[in-house]
Subunit: 171 residues, 2 copies
């Protein structure tokens, strides 16, 4: 499989993208393009609803509840029942195009899809932005601790709440 994100990917160069000033239009367009490529490669269908949900999530670096997404969808003529939103969100999550933030009961677009990854999330309690932090060292530590007691890790969620640089400075 082609490596779909590399030095040309802003999201990869700056893991703190969400907290940094950046060309958000490019950031979103780029993520969407990679989602298209990824789905094509995997023979998965990024249907209109699914693609629209991803676009909605990409509008900001905040996490949206399923019902927030649903409201937007139904205003645009898509179905207005919860399964419409949940199914699209589930699909995006399965494909690694979005993540569920359990602490918020909400979903956020993945900022660097295309890699198997289970990132760590940094949630700012002041501005509500969510960033993905490189989780490899954290995950490694988790797997190590688990292995020490014979536990096999299959999936994980690692989330931190706190203050992003901008909000910390403001306070």
């Amino acid at each position: 499989m082609a490596k779909l994100h590399d030095a040309s990917c802003p999201g990869c160069q700056s893991p703190d993208l969400a907290f940094a000033r950046h060309d958000h239009a490019h950031c979103a367009t780029d993520a969407l393009a990679r989602a298209d490529a990824l789905c094509a490669e995997r023979k998965q269908r990024l249907t209109p609803v699914r693609r629209r949900v991803l676009e909605i999530l990409l509008e900001s670096h905040r996490a949206l509840g399923a019902y927030d997404v649903l409201t937007r969808l139904s205003a645009e003529g898509y179905g207005n029942q919860p399964p419409v939103a949940y199914r699209a969100l589930d699909f995006l999550e399965e494909q690694g195009l979005a993540h569920r933030i359990r602490r918020l009961n909400a979903f956020t677009a993945c900022m660097h899809p295309g890699e198997a990854h289970s990132p760590a999330f940094l949630i700012c309690r002041a501005c509500d932005k969510v960033a993905e932090a490189p989780a490899d060292p954290i995950r490694a530590a988790l797997i190590r601790e688990a292995a020490a007691v014979g536990f096999t890790v299959e999936g994980s969620n690692i989330e931190a709440v706190g203050l992003c640089p901008a909000c910390a400075e403001a306070a």
Copy 2:
């Protein structure tokens, strides 16, 4: 403050306690005794409902939903409205006597209260048991990654799903 758990504490000697064969009666009694001591020391009131909720959580090493707890409570003559359960659970969590497992929307008794800690949880998808793993190295890695992007960590939840030793062997 007295160190309330040490080498004499089974939960401390074996972080994998939940997954290991052990004297559960002692394990629960011990945790309850330490909860009493801790609340006394902090001048907090471990009222009948609160204490009973802790006992219920301590019956197994599984996580219980608030409504599971509530059902038990109301069968025993306590109130039967959700706030009864949530208030007690919130109190226990504030005091570090129970933890919320966000992945399960459920709560589990803390196996080594008395220390400021934000543990990592290992959730077996086969038997549903939940163990606390030492989270210091993991948390340290998380804080390090966060600091690298200027993010200040105030709280975190670290949870892994997978197979416990017994269930892995059975499979």
